[in-house]
Assembly symmetry: C2
Homo-oligomer: 127 residues x 2
């Protein structure tokens, strides 16, 4: 996508209903394969930064800091399109993920599936 | 999927990290097309009910009650597979969605896309 200027990004962020902690849940999906990669959180600043840079930035609840995805690992997410749900309180990020999205080096964070009564690992680390 | 008995479902639910409100975020994805349909919330009871019945049940934060998806609309979600993320605090539900997932009668709740500086509706109601 074309990156937005700050004014436009702020105007888009105005449409999002952030929760009492100032956060919104964001689902990242690989734009071409449809694979759901991860679920993370964004605050207003991370939404604006994502829209103005074209690189996905989340809010780390554990570190209480902006989390520029891939900044240390190189496993960046390039934004393809940002979508908003009916209630305005969840985001779907269509992205182009470089390498693994998960900190375990798996492509997707959702690598455990309930099968035969237990959670089984269905994907291996790729990096 | 085969439905689980209550003991197995409870054991799977033990692996999930529910938040301070007893909830976990759940992303519903159409199992064959990959379309992300919605993001909603589950508590422990809704997870167990989903696994034991094979029909997706959420927790409605606004109504503070179990939300058996499609109970009134008929737009049920049949569970195909439940997946857990690396941190144990988000779920991916692969489902077979009957009709629209969204209360606006669109297939997906994520029907607004940030394009040309505004959110544009990219899907029409289908029912």
């Amino acid at each position: 996508m074309a990156v937005a200027d700050t004014r436009v990004a702020e105007s888009l962020a105005d449409r999002i209903s952030f929760d009492a902690n100032g956060l919104v849940a964001a689902v990242a999906q690989q734009h071409d394969t449809g694979e759901v990669l991860m679920l993370a959180w964004m605050n207003r600043q991370s939404v604006v930064e994502t829209l103005t840079t074209g690189r996905v930035t989340y809010w780390s609840r554990s570190r209480q800091a902006l989390w520029r995805k891939g900044e240390s690992s190189g496993h960046v997410q390039t934004l393809v399109e940002l979508r908003l749900d009916c209630d305005g309180d969840a985001l779907l990020l269509l992205v182009d993920q470089t390498g693994p999205a998960c900190h375990t080096n798996r492509r997707s964070c959702f690598y455990r599936a309930a099968r035969d009564g237990e959670f089984k690992e269905i994907a291996e680390p790729i990096a």
